[in-house]
Symmetry: C2
Subunit: 419 residues, 2 copies
C-alpha cells in the first residue's frame, strides 16, 4: 500500500479563506447533514432539511390523524399544489399563479410536451436534445408518436442554426439548462429567443437548475417548464415535481390528463370536463399531501436567500473543485468534463475516468458521496446552501488517494445496477 | 329547542351484542382514531394506522437523512413500487408481479385505459358507467379522443344486454365494483364474464373496493384494475395509487407514459425506450418514496386479516346502520339509497336528504364525520377493521337529533366548495 500523498498547502489555505468569507455558510444549519460525511450528490437527492421532520410529523399526527378529512379545508390541503407551486415559482422567476406542484417529473413532462404540441397544432416537429435525460427523450418520442409528429434531435449548440432553416415547422423545443452528465450550462435566454423567433415554444426541464441558479422564466418568456422537487430543492426522495405554464397560454391550455382536480367545479361531479381557469387546470388527481407538504417545508430553507448569491457561491465551489481536480486528479487519470468557463457551468463538476463505478463506491466508503453515470462519468454536485470549499478539497484528496493506491474495484457494474 | 329523543333500547342492545361478538374488534387498535370521534369517512380518507408514524419517521430521519442516496439500494427504495404493489395485490387476489404502486389514480387510469385500447386496436368503442366517478369519465373521454374511439355510457345493469349486440366493437369496459355515491355493489364476476364473452377487456376501478371486500382479480380473469391507496387502505391523503395488469397481457403491454423507471435498463441511459419485462414496465417516473413507504406501513394493518371476515363484518355494520336508518332517520325525512340486499351493498350506506350539506356539517360539529356528495347524498363509510356497531348507532342518533331539532343550516354550498 502506498502512503497517502500530502495535501498541497495552497489549496488548504484557499479553501479555509473561501469558507471564512462565505456569507451563506450559516445556511448549512438548515440541513441535517450526517456528521463526517461529505455529501456531493444533492444533484440527485438533496439532503434532509431541518424543517421537514417537525412539519411532516404535524401533517401525519395532527392533520391526518386528528383533523382527518377536514384537513382538506382547515389545513389547506386542497390548495397545496398551487401554494407549493407558487413557492417554487418564486425560485425560478415565475410570478404566482403559473406553477403547480404534484406528480412525477415524467408525468409533468408528458403534460408539458403534449400541451405544447397542442398549442402549435400545425407544426410537425418536436425538437429535443440528443443528450437529454432519458425520460425526456422517451416521453418526447411517445408524445410525437401519438400526435403524428417527428422528433428531431439537435444539440443545444446546433439549435439556433437548425431553427434558422427548419424553425417554421417546429412546434416546441425541449431542453435542459444543465446537461445532467457533464454539468454544462446552456444559454437559456439565447435558445428561448431563437425558439420564439421561429414562432415555436420553448419548454425547459429545470431538474438540474431550479434552486441551483437564478432562472427568470417570466422575464425570458419561457413558455413551459418542468422540474423535480428532490434535487436542489431537497424535497425528499421522489418528491412531487412541478409544471410552469406562462399565463398567456392558460386560456388555450389543453392537458392530456384531465383529472377531476383540474375541473372548474371539482366537487360538482359534472358529466363533462370543464377545465379550471388558470394553472389549476393542470392539476390531475388527488394531490399527494405528505410529500407535497414535506416539499413545502423543505423550500423554507431558501427563505431570505438571494439566488444571485447562490449562483456566485456555486461558481466559487465548482471553480475551486476544478482547481483541485487539475492539481490533484488530472495526474491520476481523471479528465474534467465540465466547462472551465464559469458562464458555461451548472452546479456540478463531472470528471471522466474509465473506472467511474468502482471509484464512486470506494469514495463512498471513505465518506464522500458522489455518483456516476454510465459508463465513465463521476458527478460531484454542489449546493451553495450547504456545501463548503473544504468539503470539495476533502473529496478531491480522498479520490486522489483512492486512485493513487488503486484502492477500488475496476469491474464495471452489471447491467441494471441502481447507480 | 326540542329535547333529544330517547334511543330505542333494542338498537342499543343489538349494537352491544354485535360488538361483543365481533372477532375483528381488536383490529381497531391498529388505527390511531381520535377519541370521542365517530369516523365514517374512511371511504374518502382512511384514518391514520398506528404503524405509519414510526415507519415514516425512520424513512425520513434515518433512511433519507443518514443513508441519503444509498437508500435506493440499502433501504430497498428502488423496488418499493413493485413490493408495495404486491402487498396490495395480496388484498385484491392478485398473485405477485402484476401490481405496481405509484402516481395518482387518475394517472393510473389514463395508463390503464390507454393500454387497454392498445391491446384491442381494431375495436372502436370504450364503454363506461354514466355514473362513474368524474375522473374515470373525463379520462375515458380523453383517451377516446386521442385514439379516435367512441365512448358509450352504459349503466352496469344494462351492460350485458349492450354487449350482446355491440360487444364485438368494444375494446374495453371500465367500471367500478361499488358506486361511489350510492354504495351499490355490482357483480364483478358477471360483468367481467360478459366483457370476455364479447372479446373485450374488463378494467375495474377498485378505489371503493380494495381493502373493503374480497376481490379475486386473478380468478375472475380481470384484465386491468386501478385503485387508490387512501380510502380503505388508509395510506394517507393522496397516497400512491396502484395498477394491476394480468400477467397474460404483460408482453404486449404498451403504456402511454414510458418514463425512465419503466425501462429495461433504467441506469443504462439508453437512447430509446425498451420496456422492462413484466409489470415493471408500468413504472413511470422516480417513485414517491415517502408516501409509498407510508402506504406500505399502513397495509400492515391487514396482516393476518381474512378478507371474507372483513366482508362479513362490513355487511353486519351496513345492515345494522340501515336498520338504524329505518327506525330513526326515515321518519325524519331521510331515504336510504344503498340497496338493502346484502349482495348488492359495498362498504358504505348512503342516505338522501335535500339538506345533505348542512346536515353533514352539523353532524361533524357533534363529532360524527361523514361526507356528502352533491346535491343531496350523505355517505357513511364503514371499515370492518375499526368501525363498531355502536359507532353507527351513535351516528344515527345524532343525525336524528339534528334533523328533528332542525339544528343545521339548510343553505346549499356555494359552487366549488370542497366537500
Amino acid at each position: 500500500m502506498t502512503t497517502a500523498l500530502p495535501a498541497p498547502t495552497a489549496l488548504r489555505e484557499r479553501a479555509a479563506q473561501l469558507d471564512a468569507d462565505d456569507a451563506l455558510a450559516p445556511l448549512r444549519e438548515r440541513y441535517l447533514l450526517p456528521p463526517d460525511v461529505v455529501y456531493l450528490d444533492g444533484n440527485s437527492l438533496g439532503p434532509l432539511p431541518a424543517a421537514v421532520p417537525p412539519v411532516l410529523s404535524d401533517v401525519v399526527t395532527r392533520q391526518w390523524g386528528t383533523d382527518l378529512i377536514g384537513s382538506w379545508n382547515v389545513n389547506g390541503w386542497w390548495e397545496a399544489p398551487l401554494r407549493v407551486g407558487d413557492a417554487i415559482g418564486a425560485l425560478i422567476g415565475a410570478a404566482p399563479g403559473q406553477t403547480v406542484a404534484g406528480d412525477s417529473t415524467s408525468v409533468q413532462l408528458f403534460t408539458a410536451l403534449d400541451a405544447a404540441a397542442a398549442l402549435r397544432p400545425d407544426r410537425p416537429l418536436l425538437v429535443t436534445d440528443p443528450g437529454h435525460f432519458p425520460t425526456d427523450r422517451y416521453l418526447a418520442d411517445a408524445v410525437a408518436r401519438r400526435r403524428g409528429l417527428d422528433v428531431c434531435r439537435v444539440s443545444p449548440a446546433d439549435l439556433p442554426r437548425f431553427l434558422e432553416t427548419e424553425g417554421a415547422r417546429v412546434a416546441v423545443v425541449s431542453y435542459s439548462p444543465v446537461d445532467f452528465r457533464t454539468g454544462e450550462l446552456y444559454d437559456v435566454r439565447a435558445l428561448t429567443r431563437a425558439a420564439h423567433e421561429a414562432g415555436s415554444l420553448a419548454l425547459w426541464d429545470l431538474c438540474h437548475a431550479a434552486g441551483a441558479l437564478p432562472l427568470d422564466v417570466d422575464t425570458l418568456g419561457v413558455d413551459l417548464a418542468v422540474g423535480c422537487g428532490y434535487k436542489f430543492l431537497s424535497g425528499g426522495p421522489g418528491a412531487p415535481a412541478f409544471l410552469y405554464v406562462a399565463r398567456r397560454h392558460h386560456a388555450s391550455l389543453e392537458t392530456p390528463l384531465p383529472g377531476w382536480t383540474g375541473h372548474a367545479d371539482p366537487f360538482g361531479l359534472r358529466r363533462d370536463y370543464t377545465p379550471a381557469p388558470g394553472i389549476a387546470r393542470a392539476r390531475i388527481g388527488t394531490p399527494p399531501i405528505l410529500p407535497l407538504l414535506a416539499l413545502e417545508a423543505a423550500l423554507t430553507a431558501f427563505d431570505g436567500v438571494d439566488m444571485t448569491q447562490v449562483r456566485d457561491k456555486s461558481l466559487s465551489l465548482t471553480g475551486f473543485f476544478l482547481r483541485c481536480a487539475e492539481e490533484l486528479l488530472t495526474p491520476e487519470g481523471f479528465t474534467p468534463v465540465t466547462p472551465a468557463e464559469p458562464g458555461r457551468r451548472g452546479s456540478q463538476v463531472t470528471l471522466r475516468h474509465p473506472h467511474a463505478h468502482g471509484l464512486t463506491l470506494a469514495l463512498a466508503q471513505r465518506a464522500v458521496i458522489a455518483d456516476m453515470r454510465a459508463p465513465d462519468l463521476l458527478r460531484f454536485g454542489v449546493n451553495a446552501l450547504y456545501t463548503s470549499h473544504q468539503d470539495l478539497l476533502t473529496a478531491a484528496l480522498r479520490l486522489r488517494d483512492i486512485a493513487h493506491e488503486a484502492a477500488y474495484d475496476p469491474t464495471p457494474p452489471p447491467p441494471g445496477t441502481v447507480t
